[in-house]
Each structure stands twice: as C-alpha cells, then as structure tokens.
C-alpha cells in the first residue's frame, strides 16, 4: 500500500466524522463522529511517521497522545451529556438553541 491509499482512508474517515457531526441529532452520535475524526488524525500521524521519518517515533507517540486525549474527551463529553439529559430529558442537539439571538 502506498501513502496515497492510507491518506485516502484517513480522509474518508475524517469526512464521515464531519458529516456525522453536522447531521446527527443525537449528541451521542456526534461524540462518536468526533472519535472517528480523532482516529483519522491518529492514523495520519502513524502514516507520516512511517513514510516521512521512519527512524523516529514522534508520530507514534503523538498517536498515543491522541488516544489518551480522546478517552479524556469522551469522558468529559459524556458527563456533560448526562447532566444535560438530567435537566432536559433529551440529548437532541437541535433543541439546544438557547444561544439564539
């Protein structure tokens, strides 16, 4: 596999993530989409590490960072969601429009 194939894969994953963020009504779906985008980024790090600077490990280290970050982010995101759900009995993001005007 060439670098192009890898990059096409991550681009696809990233785009699916964006699409999910923009279209999902459920906040849980959005969180999942964010995970997709983060993983696309992590794969990119590893790929570039392999093809651009094979003797170094910084890209791999970054990907581990991204995984740790993603775990933390999901935890906080879910905590917020639970609080919102307790208040409004719903996690539909289209109804969360108190910032309007």
């Amino acid at each position: 596999m060439t670098i192009m194939n890898w990059l096409q894969l991550t681009l696809l994953l990233f785009s699916i993530g964006i699409y999910g963020i923009l279209t999902r009504r459920s906040a849980v779906g959005i969180l999942i989409s964010v995970e997709l985008m983060l993983n696309a980024g992590a794969i990119n790090f590893v790929v570039f590490n392999k093809y651009v600077a094979a003797h170094q490990v910084s890209g791999q280290v970054m990907s581990i960072f991204v995984i740790a970050l993603a775990a933390a982010e999901v935890m906080i995101g879910l905590a917020i969601l639970i609080m919102i759900f307790r208040q409004r009995r719903s996690v539909d993001v289209t109804k969360m429009d108190t910032l309007k005007n």
Binding site: I18, I21, T23, V93, D97, L99, K100, N101
Partner: protein
C-alpha cells in the same frame, strides 16, 4: 547694554498683576457667597496694594533708567513648550509705556473700585461685580506687561471675556445681553485678523518676543518675504477691534449697557486703549511699514471725525461719552500713525494723550454715573440744573469737560497740542482734521455739560436730585486733581522712541489755534444749548433745518442697520444657512447613515444566529474549506 541694577520691586514686578488675580480667586470663590460687603473691601484693597506696587515700580524704574529708556524683562517663566525650540514665556516687560500703563490701569481701577462701593451699593450681584472687576484688572495688567505677542494675545482675549461679562452684568436685561454678545463677536472677529497676523509674524521671523521683534534683522527678514505690511495690517485689525476704530466701532456705544463704573474703567480708560497700546508696542515694526502706518493714521483720523460728529446728536449721556471715547482713540491712533523713528513726536504725544485721556474720561464717566444715579435717567434732556444740587460733581465734571476740550491748564490741552504739533510737520490733512475734531469735541462736551448742569430742571426727577455719596465723590475729586496736573508732566522726557526728542515746548501758533477752536465749539454750544430759555427750541430748529442730514447723523450713519443687513440678509442667508444645511444634511446625514447601515447589516447577520449547533458547524466547515482553497490558490 550692561545688566541693570535690580531693585526689589523690579524683581517682584509680577506682584502687580498677581495681587488682583489672587484677589479675584479669593473674592470669587470664598468671600462672595458669604458677604457682599467684604467682597467689595477685599477687591478694593487688593487694587490698592497693586497700585502702590506699580508706583514703587515706576519710581524704581525712573531711578535706574537714567537718560535712555531701557527695556527690561525682570521676570519670566516658561509657560508652554511646543517643541524644544518653540516655547512661550509668561513674563513682565518693563519699559516706559508698560510702566505708564501699569500705573494708569491700577490707579483708574482702584478709583473705580472705590467709586463702585458707593455706586453699586444694594445692587444684586454686588460681589460678582467686584470679582469681574478684579479679573479684568488682572487681565489688563497681564496685557500691558506682556513680553511676547502670544502672552499678549492670551491676555487680550481674557480682557475681552471680562469685558463681555461686565457689559452683560445686568444679564436679565435683553439689551445688556445683546450688547455683550455684540461686543464679544465684533472684537472676536477682529482678533481673527490679529491671530493671523501673529502667526505670519512669528512664522517668518521665528520669534514672538517684543525685544527681538524690534531688531533690524527681523524687519529685513519680514521685508524679504514681503509680509511686513500684511502682518502689521492684520495686527492693526485686532487693535482696531479692541479700540473700536471705524468700521469695527459698532460695539462700543452699545457696551454702555454695562454699569457706569465699568464703562469708565473698561470702555473709556483702559481696555479700549489696548489697541493703541498694541500699535505703540509694535511701533519699531510699524515704523518700517509705511503703508500700514498710513492706514493707521487715516483710520484714526476718520474715526476721530466720524465719532465726533455722531456725538453731537446723541441724547444718552453715556452714548455721547462713548462716541467721544471713539473720537479720542482715533486721535491717539492717528498720532501714532504719523510718527516715524526720525520724527517720533507723534508716538510720545499719543502715549501722553492716552495717559491724560484715561483720567479725564474716567472722570467724565464717573461724573455721569453720579448724575445717572441721582436722576435715574440717561437722557440729557431729562436733566438740567444739577449745578446747585450736586456741586462737587459739577465742579469735577466741568474740569473734565475743559480737559477734554483742550483748555489750558487742564491736561487735555497739553497732549492735544502735542499731537497737533506732531502733525503740523508734513501732515496737513491730519493737522486740519485734528483741529476741526478738537472744535467739535469742545462743542459736544459742553453741550452735555450745559444740558446737564446748567439751566433749570426739566423733569421731576432732576429737581429732586442730590449729591452722590462721599465714597463716590472721593474718586471724582482724585481724578479731577489728576486731570488738572498731569498735563504738566514732562512726558517726552520719559516716553520716547527713536531719535531723542527736544524738550517739547508749546508751539504758540498751534496752541492758539487749538484753543480758539475749542472756544468756538464751546461758544456755539452755549448759543444753542446754554442760554436758559428755549434752549430745546433752538436746537430743534437747527435739527429741522438740517433735516435728512441730522437724522442720518442721529442714527449713527445707519451703521448698525448696515451691519444688521449684511449679517442677517447676506451672511446668514447666503453663507450661514447653506452651511447649516450642509452640516445638518450632509455631515450629520453621513454620520447617521453609517450608524443606520451598521444596524441593518447587524440585523441581516442576526438571522444567521440560529442557535443550532450544527448550522454553526456547517459555517465553520465551509469557512475552513474556503480558507484552504484560498491558501492553496495563492501559495500552493
């Protein structure tokens, strides 16, 4: 010039102006709200201190100055610094004319303060009045002791402000308010010329200090740029505004709406001579500008004749005096205008006349004030027969009338004589004009004297008149004494410029013709107004025979109406209102338009603010993509 010996008073000459200033603050801020009586006393005693200090200064100055007059700047502090090279100092300039002016201003001001204690007694705003008087005296002293044109301009405006405040002292009277506004606007308009003149002068010569402006290099520098005459004419415009020279004279007669002591102090003795003083102060420059000096001479002569003619027809005693002030100021101006550095008699004569005029004109106004106080009217036809009821006022007023008419041995005779002698050499028009004006002056001054003090009382009020209070009489008597003796001061010994003067002796021909003119004036006035029976009838007959000419003069040649027409019908209509329209529609419209468009754009963007998280997301993504493509298109 070796450094002169400094005496205590010279070193502390700033005290003269500072005392009235601090008294102004003290009286205005702390005393006035609590006690009117103390306000008057403190203000007056401040002026007394200032007056003594100025006499001391004059004495010291005469001791050290010796034969040739010296110019000293004993005290000067930096006031403003624009850039390191350009800075403005506030200081005290001591030379013969500034010392003379300081003594005149403090003396007349002190006497007017004393007089006002009696005159203003029981009036509303008694404390306010004395506060303003102190402010005025401070400004005037600052003006006369200026070391540079900029300082002079600052005090010039301060003097204008205090004049405005005092003319409008009876601010509930619409006429007084209008007069105050008129005085301020007219002088302000003239000061525009003054300011431009200063800027031209300072810009080309790189200096604003009088001591360096009188250097010959400066004159040649100004001549090189060809702006000497222009700058001096513009400065003369300012001087003409303050000294009410034709055609900027219209404010002075109206300024008589102020309290009478104010008219005596500001609009007769001190402030209005500021213009004459300015020309005298800049005389080293003026003497090099033949054209500007000629304008000064002719404007002076014309004003002098013009005002004298009008004064013959006015019925308001203060207005007659106002026009006579105009006429005498014109006298001083033309006397300056005919002086040169080689024949400087006119300069000395002008300053001499200024000095004498300050005393006898203040006396005339204060006497008129005493009369007005007694009969409660300004109209001379409603007075009459006050000779027996107000004996001291009568005597002092008579002295002043004789002084201004130029009868020996009163002061006016000497200075008028000197002016005529000065104009005799090579200025025949001015000599004859001056002679005729002297005759007319004697005519109208004795006219008001006859109508006010001789004959019988013409109204109820004037028959119940009584002598003024002793405080007021004190000032009258002191000023009368001054008017009797100041003529004998050997003025040319103290004040001169350029070529040293021969000790001026009285030219017999001039003295006789001048006195003759004055006597003719007084005599014809006696025939028309003096003879006890039917004096009103005789003057009516003459007025009727003169017909249109009489009413033309009586209405002051319709100058107020012309100005009214020009300002209202032409300037307001064709310049001011289009500008107002432009300001309201275009300038304000532009500002409003920008506000309106910002609001409309905001309203447009408001609809994008949905509150939907995902809409924002879409915008964000579109923005990212656009940015990426822009980046790609430009760099990649």
């Amino acid at each position: 010039m070796q450094p002169p010996v400094m005496t205590f008073m010279l070193e502390n000459s700033w005290v003269i102006a500072a005392v009235p200033f601090f008294s102004f603050l003290l009286v205005g801020l702390f005393i006035r709200p609590y006690s009117d009586k103390w306000a008057g006393l403190v203000a007056t005693s401040a002026l007394f201190i200032s007056m003594l200090a100025s006499y001391l200064l004059a004495w010291d100055y005469l001791q050290i100055s010796g034969a040739a007059p010296q110019v000293l700047v004993p005290w000067s502090v930096e006031w403003l610094q624009f850039i390191p090279k350009i800075s403005v100092h506030m200081g005290v300039l001591i030379d013969p004319i500034s010392v003379m002016m300081m003594t005149v201003v403090t003396t007349v001001s002190f006497l007017v303060h004393v007089y006002s204690i009696g005159y203003m007694h029981g009036e509303n705003g008694y404390g306010r009045y004395f506060t303003y008087l102190n402010l005025f005296t401070f400004s005037m002293l600052g003006l006369v002791s200026s070391t540079n044109i900029f300082q002079m301009y600052v005090f010039w405006e301060l003097v204008g402000v205090s004049s405005f405040l005092l003319i409008g002292f009876y601010y509930k009277k619409p006429a007084a308010v209008a007069a105050a506004k008129k005085a301020f606007i007219v002088t302000r308009f003239a000061d525009l010329g003054f300011l431009i003149g200063i800027l031209i002068l300072a810009g080309t010569s790189q200096t604003i200090y009088f001591t360096s402006l009188s250097q010959p290099e400066v004159v040649s520098q100004l001549n090189e740029f060809g702006v000497l005459n222009l700058a001096l004419l513009l400065i003369f415009m300012g001087a003409a505004g303050k000294s009410a020279m034709f055609p900027l004279h219209i404010w002075l007669p109206d300024a008589m709406e102020g309290p009478t002591p104010v008219s005596a102090l500001i609009h007769a003795a001190t402030m209005v001579v500021a213009g004459v003083y300015l020309v005298a102060r800049m005389f080293p420059l003026y003497s090099q500008a033949t054209y500007a000096l000629e304008v000064v001479a002719f404007v002076g002569l014309f004003t002098s004749a013009f005002a004298a003619i009008i004064a013959c027809t006015q019925d308001d005693i203060k207005r007659v005096l106002a026009f006579s002030t105009l006429s005498q100021l014109g006298y001083m101006m033309f006397s300056l205008g005919i002086a040169t550095l080689r024949e400087p008699l006119g300069y000395t004569a002008s300053m001499f006349h200024l000095y004498n005029h300050a005393f006898f004109k203040a006396l005339l106004f204060l006497g008129a004030g005493a009369v007005i106080h007694a009969v409660h009217t300004n109209n001379i036809w409603e007075m009459g027969g006050l000779r027996k009821k107000m004996p001291i006022t009568h005597i002092t007023f008579l002295i002043a009338v004789l002084a201004i008419s130029g009868i020996w041995p009163f002061s006016g005779f000497f200075s008028k004589d000197e002016i005529l002698v000065a104009s005799l050499h090579g200025h025949p028009i001015h000599f004859i004009g001056g002679l005729i004006v002297a005759g007319i002056t004697a005519f109208y001054m004795s006219r008001i004297y006859f109508l006010t003090f001789l004959g019988n009382s013409r109204t109820e009020a004037s028959s119940h008149a009584h002598e003024a209070s002793p405080v007021m009489l004190f000032s009258l008597v002191v000023l009368a004494a001054f008017s009797c003796v100041t003529g004998f001061i050997p003025f040319s010994h103290y004040v001169s410029i350029g070529q040293p003067l021969e000790h001026s002796r009285i030219n017999l021909l001039v003295a006789i013709s001048g006195t003759l003119m004055a006597l003719i004036g007084i005599f014809s006035s006696w025939i028309i107004y003096g003879s006890s029976s039917g004096s009103a009838k005789r003057s009516d007959v003459i007025a009727r025979r003169l017909g249109a000419i009489y009413s033309l003069i009586k209405n002051k040649f319709y100058f107020d109406e012309i100005y009214q027409f020009v300002t209202h019908k032409i300037i307001f209509k064709f310049i001011a209102s289009p500008i107002a329209w432009f300001d309201r529609k275009v300038v304000d419209g532009g500002v409003n338009l920008s506000g309106w468009s910002a609001r409309k754009v905001g309203e447009g963007f408001l609809s994008m603010q949905t509150g939907q998280l995902q809409t924002y997301g879409v915008w964000f993504v579109i923005g990212t993509i656009v940015t990426f493509f822009l980046f790609w298109a430009t760099v990649g």
